[in-house]
């Protein structure tokens, strides 16, 4: 470390940065995390975590009709969305403090400031102070993508941050973009009685997920009154006295105006790679992302980039893993040099949930891969009947000769939790029969996972 303030200086304290700081501390590296806002980043403060709190409250609210079925009456007059919002803030604050504690516990220094790269081993803070490190990790994350004409004012045109921070719900909302974020907000809003218009340019909602799985979700949304416009783009937004008026255009070019109180624009995220001094060290971005090779190293030796600034799926758990890879590498360990793209889980928290990893069927077809599939309906797992959540299935895409697991798609209750057994199967290179032959506790939803794997071998029982 001779001559440097730290072994590693991490620019950004989100999921990538804080995990890098903790892991560095664990491995005996002297680390500093520079964060201009709150540690935990978007995930903890205005993304994954508060939205899960909102969804949990939404589910409680949505269960009111079933309470009526058992003779209870619930007075919803006192419903106050501000209280829901407060709960989500409480969750965020608790976890943000938790991250602070973990950094401290692992002797990683948190520097609350904005910093930019000013040399290959140096970051300059806004006040002019220079921090040097033997290694540097760029983990500056991303921000909601702006589309021209739909700039956020966070009053009527909301980003995901604006939507998370709402203390009062609109009566009617347009959601532009039906990826995971758009779908989760559609679910929250709809659960609390907001009239939701969900607009997606591609042919279906959650376009990167398996089409069969999405169909189950789309059917559930439709039943609950979410209005979906697929193959449709928003042409313009106009602010009116009461809210917004948005012009939609379908594939045939037919236009139609939809009025609402607010429009939520969630069409992806832009990496925060501008204005962080990349040019000072000679790193040029590709489509805004920082190019990296093995172990998340940039072309400048000693500088690593992880998380949303890198062109891998913009997910907190990807950033966690990349942080681990980069830090372990600089600590002289030999981690896997990169993430297997087919082993990255994705989780969308609507009801039914959509969880997956690996190849969706449409992509296997597109890539002309030789593949086979097997699936098992939730209904076949007795627990789902008891829970009154029989909609959904577990589907596995596999290589027909070796039966290597290539992709898994689950739609249904608790899909995001029960997926991991199969993900372990893939990462540990287990075969479907290994999972099929394992005894699954009865009654559980995980039985559907076991049965889907049995189905690969033609051994499914409850179907």
């Amino acid at each position: 470390m001779a001559g440097y303030d730290y072994d590693v200086v991490i620019l950004g304290g989100g999921p990538g940065g804080y995990v890098a700081g903790i892991r560095a501390g664990q491995l005996g590296l002297k680390a500093a995390v520079i964060e201009r806002d709150k540690v935990g980043g978007v995930c903890v403060n205005e993304g994954c975590i508060p939205s899960k709190a909102l969804i949990h409250q939404a589910e409680l609210f949505r269960s009111i009709p079933s309470l009526k079925e058992i003779g209870l009456s619930v007075d919803t007059k006192g419903f106050d969305y501000k209280a829901v919002f407060d709960k989500s803030r409480k969750a965020s604050d608790a976890l943000m403090k938790g991250v602070q504690f973990l950094l401290k516990k692992n002797k990683a220094v948190t520097i609350p400031a904005e910093g930019t790269l000013s040399g290959r081993n140096e970051i300059t803070l806004k006040d002019g102070k220079k921090i040097t490190g033997k290694n540097i990790v760029i983990a500056t994350g991303s921000r909601p993508r702006v589309i021209p004409g739909f700039e956020f004012d966070e009053e009527r045109v909301l980003s995901s941050t604006g939507a998370i921070m709402l203390t009062k719900l609109p009566k009617k909302a347009i959601i532009l973009g039906a990826g995971a974020i758009g779908v989760e907000f559609a679910h929250i809003f709809n659960a609390f009685g907001v009239e939701v218009h969900l607009v997606e340019m591609l042919d279906r909602i959650l376009p990167i997920e398996d089409a069969e799985a999405v169909k189950v979700l789309a059917r559930a949304f439709q039943k609950r009154g979410v209005q979906m416009y697929t193959g449709t783009k928003a042409v313009s937004v106009q602010k009116t006295a009461g809210g917004v008026s948005v012009v939609l255009e379908d594939k045939g070019g037919a236009r139609k105006a939809v009025d609402a109180d607010q429009i939520l624009v969630v069409v992806g995220r832009t990496p925060n790679t501008d204005g962080i001094g990349l040019e000072k060290v000679g790193i040029t971005t590709e489509k805004g992302f920082i190019p990296v090779g093995d172990f998340n190293q940039t072309k400048v030796s000693g500088i690593y980039a992880i998380g949303d600034v890198v062109n891998t799926p913009l997910l907190a758990h990807v950033a966690f893993k990349e942080a681990e890879i980069a830090i372990e590498h600089m600590a002289g360990k030999s981690p896997e040099p990169r993430i297997d793209p087919l082993s990255i889980p994705s989780a969308t928290y609507c009801e039914p949930q959509v969880a997956s990893f690996g190849l969706p069927e449409w992509k296997a077809v597109e890539q002309k891969l030789s593949f086979a599939k097997a699936s098992f309906p939730y209904r076949g797992a007795g627990k789902s009947v008891a829970l009154e959540q029989t909609e959904g299935f577990v589907k596995v895409i596999y290589e027909p000769k070796t039966k290597e697991i290539l992709g898994v798609h689950i739609v249904g209750a608790d899909a995001t939790e029960i997926m991991h057994e199969m993900l372990l199967g893939r990462t540990a290179e287990l075969l479907p029969e290994d999972i099929a032959l394992m005894i699954h506790a009865h009654p559980t939803l995980s039985e559907a996972v076991g049965e889907a794997m049995r189905a690969v071998e033609g051994w499914a029982i409850h179907v």
Binding site: T402, K403, E429, D434, E457, G458
Partner: protein, 422 residues
Amino acid sequence: MPEKILMMALSPTMDTGTLARWRKKEGDTVAVGDVLCEVETDKATMDYESTSEGTLLKIVVPAGGQAKVGDTIAILGKPGEDFSALLADARPAAAKAPAASATGAARAPTPVPAGASTAPMAHAHVPASGRVRSSPLARRIAAQKGIDLRSLQGSGPEGRIVKRDLDAAPVRAVSGVMAARQAGQAPAVPSYTPGPGDEVVPLSSMRRIIARRLSESMFSAPHYYLTVAVAMDELLATRTRLNAGREKKASINAFLLAIAGRALLRHPKVNSTWNGDSIIRHTTADIGLAVALPDGLITPVVRDCGRKGILAIDGDLAGLVERARAGKLLPAEYEGNTFTISTLGSAGIDEFTAVINPPGSAILAVGAIRKEPVVGDNDTIAIRQRMRVTLSCDHRVIDGAVGAAFLRELADMLENPMLALA
């Protein structure tokens, strides 16, 4: 209901078997445990015992035919039952059968209750000693491509062999040629056009295995060789004394195995297996003895030679060699050697070098015993019974000085068998 009889993996490396002979014919009654047929695997001809009972309704794969593991080879049921449906879907059903070859190897033998159905069939396989760490997927791909996992180095957790290690395998190992052939691609070695009058001999399963395993050994294990000449007079005299009045005479090979076994226990570094990112030291000396067969060779293994007596080893050896020549060795009888001995003395060879037979890390090549003039301690010349032995060592496991110390002690024991008791 009629049921399919599927080809099972009768050895861990088997993926195809040749129906050598049907011992039951259509219409015969079959009881559990009856031998249905004999199957030639990659190493031996083995009895296929029925795990079901009934009447043999149809032989699907006739004698001489080949069947992949999981293929239907026959149909069993009640006399007169209609089995046409089974026959029709024999192929797809075969594809669904669990590939016992890949995973069965790791499982302990389970007795099959009488009348139990055949599927799913996790047939008893005895794991080779010095089990290789590997993922289930890697084992399956290896079985399908015919790659010997023991020839690979694992890159997964704790040196586990994972899929990507096999992806690289065809490039490094000769097995890649086999894999390419099996995949219907052009082989990566030159192919020759036979000239007029040349005979093209198709490879037997055994020939393929020999070609693959020994090439892998030769190309992955750095071999070096140490030779000593030993005076055998004392050992031959000892043998004569031991055999005096015995109807069954203990063989020289039994002496060799017993003495080598004791030397190995004293030199555990030689009694070891290269395991990619580690070396396994064995606690018993399980010595394979190369036995020549009409089309190839096989090395039955005598277990625990370092502790067994000469007569016990001789008894084991007699049974093993007889079964080896009859092509009836079970996998458990020829796998998991920690050391090997190859003798060509009876073929009139004075000395030679041998290719190491994994998972052992050394092989002893034993030449003929001949009378030779030997210069003694005080420059006198004496006529002694001399035998040259050459030790091939895998340098990854055994360094020169280690191999030399082992061979020196082995030679001393051969010259003076009393030392084996010391």
